[in-house]
Amino acid sequence: MEDDRLHELVRQRSYAEAFEGLLSRYQDKVFRLAFSYTRDRARAEELAQDVFVRMWQVLPRFDARASLSTWLYAITRNTCLSALRYDARRRTRPLDEVRERAADAPSASRDAEDLDVRRLVDGLPETQRRVITLFYLEDRSLRDVGLMLGMPEGTVKSHLHRARRALAGAMSAQGAR
């Protein structure tokens, strides 16, 4: 369902139909945006659920000042930032959860090169990491990455280039060792 049609449904107060269209069109994008913040698939799924529950609750307040997708992405970013702040405050985690996460971690038998590049990406500054992760998750679309992160395309490109230069430098350093 196109964005214009979704706006029309909200204007007509057909919230259930609008929400269904929104979910079909944006659930994967919201999930990937959340993943770019959390780097954890399960946590990103939880947050995507929270985002859509919140969206369902507040849909009648949509006033078309921004587009629905802009609104949805802003809610996603705010939800993720709040969750990251909450996670950072929880200094200790239950032992079972730690064990579970350790079991989910990539095993040594996986492709060593894949693991290296993921580790290098994890070492980037937050914004560069989010931009380069989303760029590859979103099929290399600067426009989509810009919309999702609320940044102009030129800013996305500049973060992307900085990330590529930093990763190439880290790869060369790794190769030299």
Binding site: Q27, F31, W56, R61, N78, D114, V117, R118, V121, Y136
Partner: protein, 138 residues
Amino acid sequence: MDCPHAQDLLLDEVDGLLEPAPRPELRRHLAGCESCRAFAELQRQLDVELRKGIPALSLDARFRRELEPRLRREPWPEWLPEVAYLAGAALATAATVVALPLPAASTWWIGGALAALGFVVHSVLASAFSDLDAAGDL
């Protein structure tokens, strides 16, 4: 062409922002610049690694199954914040009227407590709807 310009074009090529084209000036620069050739090769290699290392992600049917029970409630009515705000103001006014006949010291205490309560209610409402305001500012 200098190295920074050549490297920017090479990065645009890797990003897929430039259509494949001969670009003779860039090719001439690369032919004479070992450092930019190495840069181009490294960036191509990195692109391959990133494609492998950041695989496609999508949700399965379980996501909707788990989401549905959480959506059973109707959405919040659009007038909710205004009504909540008016109800809070009416309550504070009524409580102040009730407190007026009491001795001056008690009125000060009650007035202070109501002001604090008003601040808390306002903060909770502002926080609950901050997502909407943030989105509207974009």
